[in-house]
Amino acid sequence: MEYALYLGCTIPLKMPHFEFAFREIANYLGLTFKEMEGASCCPDPVATQSISIDTWLTLAARNLCLAEKMGLDILTICSGCFETLKTTKVLLEEDKTAFDRINSVLKKIGYEYKGTSDIYHFVELFSQEEYLEKIKKILMRPLDNLNVAVHYGCHLIRPSKILQVDHPERPETMDKIIEALGAKTVAFAGKLECCGFCARLKEEIGFKLVEDKITELKELEEEVDVMVGVCSACVSQYDRKQKLLSRKTGKVLDIPVLYVPELMAIAFGIEPDKLGLKNRSIRPTKLLEKLNI
């Protein structure tokens, strides 16, 4: 099946290495897509929605219209985009008045929103049996000895009534993908905690949440080799704040954080040099050593 690839803006503009890893593994998995030219920011579910729900819905509906014109469903590579686009579709299905109001604005720029394209996050696809089997076949470098901490992040699984990706309190989609790579996923109490990135106006919240989660991971009996996420905000939050916290508190907080497609790319045999793994605060040096790369 072919998809309209919605890149969002943070990943393609600030983290092109994430996009590269995604495109590489998608290619290995035989996933085909068309580029969504002229797409804007999803827009972001924090500032835009806070200022005006209507602006948020209309800008999102404009992006959905682009996919409708292509006659394709949307595939997203970031949880923030996924939440915005999927919530817009669901809300406009439920609220006929909003549907009409938003279309009356879109008409002024020559668009009409119909609600015919569905929205998927790549986690939904890759955790299906068909893809898990493909992943196991492609595996060039099984991650047998790795202990991986999975961070689901909020905007992939909640609210489950709208997003419908996974169980909101006992999710397993991401674990399935990581286990298909041969790695072991660790159990820990803070697994479903928020990264705090969206509490933008009080940065201390983000620092506290990152410190709590990473401290717990450092205290586990088994050594955690890497933490993984599927949202550009979560991944950069844990990566950058760990380093700042180490400096501030003197604690050793140094768990490398990768975007799931990056870990998949490593397992698929793609050379780490190509993946731009140096573009982060905590370099996964020890991780690569453990994999004998």
């Binding site: 804007s40 920011c41 209309t58 909003a98 106006l201 949440l209 731009g276």
Partner: protein, 181 residues
Amino acid sequence: MTEEEVINAEDLDYNFRYEISEKVGAKSLLKCIQCGICSSGCTVTEYVDLQPHRVVASCLLGLKDIVLSSNAIWTCSLCHRCTERCPKGVDYSFILALLRNLAVKAGNCPEEYRGTIQTIHDNGYVVPYTGGLATNIDRRRDRFGLPKFVPPDLKEIDIIMQETGIGNLLDKALEDKEGDK
């Protein structure tokens, strides 16, 4: 609010609850039974002046000014656990977004958020993508062999923002910029 503070009944805005619940996504406000599950699972519960269940109670009581000037509506981390766990289906995260919209309309818009809207307006993205910045970004993308990035028509973004009623936030910003020159 201190314990001793007294609010007169005539200062309550009894219509406030309906101002919120008339929006389809926020209709659930009226179903709250004050069980407090939202507050017990709230990521930011220790940082707010009003916990989620108290925000809802205050909306129902008509304490509009207290709600709209609280830090609670801006401190949320959008984890959606409140909405997820509510046994009555109250969509607190959506209600909170609506309350922030009302606060903005009343003239209280945090500069950080306004700045983001301005960036989206001027670039189509939350990341500045013009001039030298765009050249640098394109060069980085080239190094990874990524396809050329085709930005949106900014006129369309502008029309959407104007038509959905946030043009005033943007105009102000443009004037400020001109003033700086």
